[in-house]
Amino acid sequence: MDLRPAGVNPTAANSATAGAPPAVAASGVTKRFAGGVVANDRVTFEARHGEVHALLGENGAGKTTLCNILTGLYRPDEGEIRIDGKPVRLHSPHEAQAAGIFMVHQHLSLVDSLTVAENVVLGWSRHGGVTFSARTVEAEIEEIAARYQMAVDPKARIWQLSLGERQRVDILKALYRGASILILDEPTTVLTPAEIDQLFSSVREMVAEGSTVIFISHKMPEVFAIADRTTILRKGRSITTLDIAGTDARQLARLMVGHEMSFDVHPRAAGVEPKPAPAQPPVLALEGVHVRGDFGIDALKDVSLEITAGEILGIAGVSGNGQRELAEVVAGLRPFTQGTIRIGGENVASGDPRDAINRGVANVPEDRMGTGVSPNLSVAENLILKSYRSSSPHSGPILLMGRAETQATALMARFDIRAPGPGTLVRQLSGGNVQKVVLARELSSGPRLVIAASPTRGLDVGATEYVRGVLVEAAKQGAAIMLISEDLDEIVELSDRIAVLYEGRVVGVVEAASATYEHLGLMMAGAAS
């Protein structure tokens, strides 16, 4: 077992691969940003040929910065990058790609208005030359896609694809270009269990061919399932490098966070009150609801769902099966064409967000930065965005910003929003704190119904636990909660009941206590009801 700190002697660590230099190595890499943030502080790290190397760390630990340096997007202020033992200076992603290093980002590097094939040859083509033959490339993509079992239509435009499909395109792009070092930045966030298995078998095939896969994740089970070794980063520093076979989740979690964390406590298990009998009408009732999607076809078909007060209904499904439309139609952001939606027994107007808000619907949207907040407004301003008509501090048409900031300061304390002050612009906050701003605004008004769409996507372990706790607490206070997530663990852990969406239909509603992953997975894949 290799327990020596990674910083000690990089060359000595190669003994395991019989003197062959590591595929890629970083030593003493430091990256500072304007404003004095040190994102990487003397990071040392190496990944061998033919291994899956996991980079573990909370958000802000410096994983993404390190990868951006490895892929030539950032230049390190200090330190050295070596590929196959040779020091290199990567000045651009182009140079990194020429050296075989590719990254599949969390925010995928795809151009929405172009087709899959066009995206794949962007910046590089096997054929050189000036002209671009879509047909040739499409055939080549289909071949690679078949080899790695990553079905995708090469003629489709990116904006027509689900997030899971987009990720596949990004991976295909790297494979098409002959990547020898592939960095996957939290690749499983948008995938179903079956898709994760598929991804992992593609990854195993890559490493079997001698390639290197650097796998960034928060999720312990995945790291144990796929990685050979792991390097742990904390607050911009590389803590250590370990063999996966010789460690356990508890040790890794402690190294990541710096203190013991509990993974076993089931938030719902803690509060063991029996569910109240549904005497009053359900808070939310959908009956035979049809909704048209962006492309003119029905995105939701004949959907009927009920959520009672104090209940968390999980909506599971592969992304792109109507989850977004479901959230939008309940929030009044999208009209429905058939059926009825009742909140507290009363019919709601179709496509009228203000009506929904007045009936006590809180919306924690999937697109946090775009829909959830206004990034260029301050924390205080974002917090009063919804209540400006009623309870916000105002005198006639004049907003009393002083009082708004006092209120904001109180909410910041209550919801653990870490920002220098209420006047801080929201775009300067981390993802977790942005989500807390959204939660503070939406939940502080005591809503009847909370729509939470992928509420923990991209958040670190601490923020994720916090957000989940807030949702559970809101349910205890009597709110009905519709939890939409592609993270099945999250759905199972938090929900009372789970509804599965497949191609716009509810294919099944099960009690969370009796649900199995196999059954849910089959329903998500459309193979069972």
Partner: protein
């Protein structure tokens, strides 16, 4: 309406539309790279005055002089566009401010009229002018002849440019990269495409095209130089790019439509149709509003059009 009238409307549509085709094509390239260039009007004026000066000053065979004048006009436009590129891409000045500043700097009360005075070309009558060609000797064929086969070389050159730009945009790798840079510079950068270089090159080529559009005024439409003779065509060219959904083929349609509209009053008068001239001068603008309104709904539905990163400077390192 008789065939005669239709022919003369079509002929003047092409004459007045050609500067719009050239300048619009240039703007289209710049905008596809994500750079909004509002300096087109100024670049056209500089092209016009430079072309006229060179054609008046150079000695030698007429054809050589005209070619030199055209090249000089392109260089003048490109030089101004280089300033815009530097300001908006490297220094990341607001592109609207930079473009407007250039139009004012080079415009009616600026550099182009100063150059006209210094070079003393103000009242002169042109020595050289582009002549109408008789293609294949078929210019007398009814309708088709005068419209398609009896234009000057510059018109045919503009058609070749349209075909080249269309091919470039949709059938070459570099055109693909250009579209990616305008849509998502971050993705393009991550794919190893040099965003800065693409933006510089296409902004500068765009300026050169605007210069060519200006040269068409002084070398073909009327062989004289007066201050501000492009009379807002640079602005119409910018609007046309929007109407055309950033597509060269539609740009040509739009340019000739506007060419026809702006010359309609004059053409109809010569054919004895009496309507208030104000009506005709307002036509292009009524047209603008109508097309814009129609375009915006189609845009919203089909998500084609505006390069997503248009007007947004690209900064790689964001902490």
């Amino acid at each position: 309406m008789n065939a005669d009238l239709i022919v003369s409307i079509a002929v003047s549509a092409i004459a007045y539309g050609t500067p719009l085709v050239l300048a619009g094509l240039g703007e289209l390239l710049a905008e596809r790279s994500g750079v909004l260039n509002l300096g087109v009007e100024g670049m056209m004026l500089m092209g016009a005055v430079t072309a006229f000066f060179v054609s008046q000053t150079l000695g030698g065979p007429g054809l050589a002089v005209l070619v030199a004048a055209i090249i000089a006009a392109a260089l003048a436009g490109a030089a101004l566009a280089l300033i815009h590129a530097f300001l908006s891409i490297t220094v990341r000045v607001n592109q609207i401010v930079s473009g407007l500043a250039l139009t004012i700097f080079a415009g009616t009360i600026g550099l182009s009229s100063y150059a006209g005075q210094v070079w003393g070309v103000g009242g002169q009558h042109g020595v050289h002018q582009l002549v109408k060609l008789d293609v294949l000797g078929l210019s007398d064929v009814p309708v088709v002849g005068p419209i398609l086969l009896n234009q000057d070389a510059f018109v045919y050159f503009s058609w070749v440019l349209v075909a080249l730009v269309t091919f470039y945009l949709f059938r070459t790798r570099f055109g693909l990269y250009l579209r990616a840079v305008g849509e998502s510079p971050r993705s393009a950068d991550a794919m190893g495409i040099n965003v800065t270089r693409y933006r510089y090159v296409h902004t500068i080529i765009g300026g050169a095209f605007a210069g060519l559009g200006g040269a068409y005024f002084t070398l073909a439409i009327a062989p004289i130089w007066t201050d501000g003779l492009t009379a807002g065509d640079g602005w119409i060219a910018i609007a046309l790019v929007i109407f055309a959904f950033w597509r060269p083929d539609l740009l040509v349609v739009g340019a000739y439509l506007f060419g026809a509209l702006s010359s309609l009053g004059f053409t109809l008068q010569t054919h004895g149709v009496q309507l208030p001239s104000e009506f005709f001068s307002s036509l292009p603008y009524i047209m603008t509003v109508v097309v814009l309104a129609a375009a915006s709904t189609t845009l919203a539905r089909r998500r084609i059009g505006t390069p997503a990163a248009l007007g947004v400077p690209y900064v790689r390192e964001e902490s």
